[in-house]
Symmetry: C2
Subunit: 344 residues, 2 copies
Amino acid sequence: MSKAPITIKDIAKALKLSHSTISRALKDSYQIGEETKKRVKAYAKAHNYHPNLMAQSLKNQKTRSIGVILSSVSKVFFAEVITGIESVASAKDYHVIITQSMENFEKEKNNLDQLTWRSIDGLLVSISAQTTDFSQFKSIQESGTPIVFFDRITHELETHTVIADNYQGAFDLTKHLIDQGFKRIAHITSSEEIFTTKARLAGYTDALKLAGIPFDQDLIRYCEQGGVDTKEVENQLSTLLSLDNPPDAVFAASDLISLSSFDYLQQKGINIPDELAFAGFSNFSAPQLFNPGLTTVKQPAFEMGKQAMELLLELVESKRPVSSFKHVSIPTELQIRKSTKGRS
Amino acid sequence: MSKAPITIKDIAKALKLSHSTISRALKDSYQIGEETKKRVKAYAKAHNYHPNLMAQSLKNQKTRSIGVILSSVSKVFFAEVITGIESVASAKDYHVIITQSMENFEKEKNNLDQLTWRSIDGLLVSISAQTTDFSQFKSIQESGTPIVFFDRITHELETHTVIADNYQGAFDLTKHLIDQGFKRIAHITSSEEIFTTKARLAGYTDALKLAGIPFDQDLIRYCEQGGVDTKEVENQLSTLLSLDNPPDAVFAASDLISLSSFDYLQQKGINIPDELAFAGFSNFSAPQLFNPGLTTVKQPAFEMGKQAMELLLELVESKRPVSSFKHVSIPTELQIRKSTKGRS
DNA sequence: CTGAAAGCGCTTACAG
DNA sequence: CTGAAAGCGCTTACAG
């Protein structure tokens, strides 16, 4: 194992050519003769030549690195998203710098600063729950770094976006509950502001409308922390249960909410689904563990990461400014289990 | 927002100094007068100067990037490890390139190649289950890139290692089962070869010995895939259950094994803990979801990532070769739930 | 078709 | 205490 990797200079010396010629031959420049190209490439391969990325970056003003901001890698959903992102990145020789906002606006801003001065070529973002001001993203975009939003997106910037079809997922889930005979369907969801919350609420509302079931604002409960705080979920649940006309089913917007809810309901001795049916959005690795098994809407996390990265690299590698943007929405998958079994 | 970031040259021009002086002032060189330093730093700060990392890397032959190889980010354990690694990295301005081996030797080798020619400054590895040949790691180390192993380690290379105290964790868990009155304790574990498997088996064995319970090889069941394949786990369980003298408790080595087992046992209508007690190593986010709640040994994942990264950076930043290596073992935590309740 | 030269933004031995 | 110069490994306009 040689300590110093082989460089263009070394090849030039060995082959008695100038280093410009080597450089061009390696990139298949039309200016170089076929014979020469072959010799150079063969030598490079034989000696396991790899270009020095730092030198290339310095020259090209491109780092081949992509920044990612998401709330937390510990969430199964995001772990799967990352795998999708990496699958594209490694195929195209980019590397990915992951940062976590922990749903915190200040942290998100710090991550952004960090990533910026590391001079990334592009940025992938799922916006934190706290974020209402998008000016930092705008200035990054204006300074020439393309951004693609996924999952938690905004339309305040013009760019590609990739989401799960939250609307359809919520619609399907609500319709399933209605089909099972439930009439008072509550919705415990995350912060009112975020994009996914709005889309899910719309799907829920439309499914009710279609079935002629009246919408009741009392049945919509927001958790500002998105369920990170167990107490928050318990409060919303207990409010629901003490309504004059309590719900017969609950549609939860996330795993965290479902987890806390199951604990609480079990504690209170409330039987699922006989006293209260329950279902939720989830990328939990083992929804069958819930007792009874949890009916879920599964988000296409890997696929989202993959497509978001592909769209970002389109922007990064595009020769000229892009002005027409795609808004991808990927279907979700309804998985029916015992927690929503109707009384029939 | 200026498109082009400010450089040393810009500062030099503005302050009518040479760029050598700026460079030195910014790094607090003793050669530069206090007054000058102050002026330069103030200007740099005011204009939000950040050094161009590519240029620095090229000059210093250091990239400030650290490679990580682990089996899969989708495992909660590794997601937490990553958070620990990142916490150190971001504080010290390193960035982390994560790669996944998926327990596959070939993939691990590819990741290694990729990382190598990206010229990382150091490497953090949790070895894949398939790996028995460590020559690639050795040559990387010999070529000057420090490596630290964590979780799945080897002693074939001389370097720092960081593990959870698997021995003690297994010992504690086994002792707990014995204390609860169980006498035939089976152990369903991962591939026989890997380090963690051996350590856990040793803890298990010693706890039995101490209690005067005879060791029975029939009660030790290996899953080559580590439980990725549900069938594998079911086979081992059914073998155990059909023994002439079947176990009264099971100690599982991982979440995956516990998950598949619970499904299988529930299917077979076997009551936990009355017919069979169950406990396992786990970093599952919600062990209380198991029905009944699962007694677990929790691994200090965040802490492991943090300490491994700290030790690696010690090696990376050390001026001279290090020859004395630390072997850190971090305590695990036994969390007792209903799945191991004794009959008393 | 090939080469000499300049330059990306920094660091650092060498001079003064 | 400060500056001019060389060089890290590459790319690419300019010549020939």
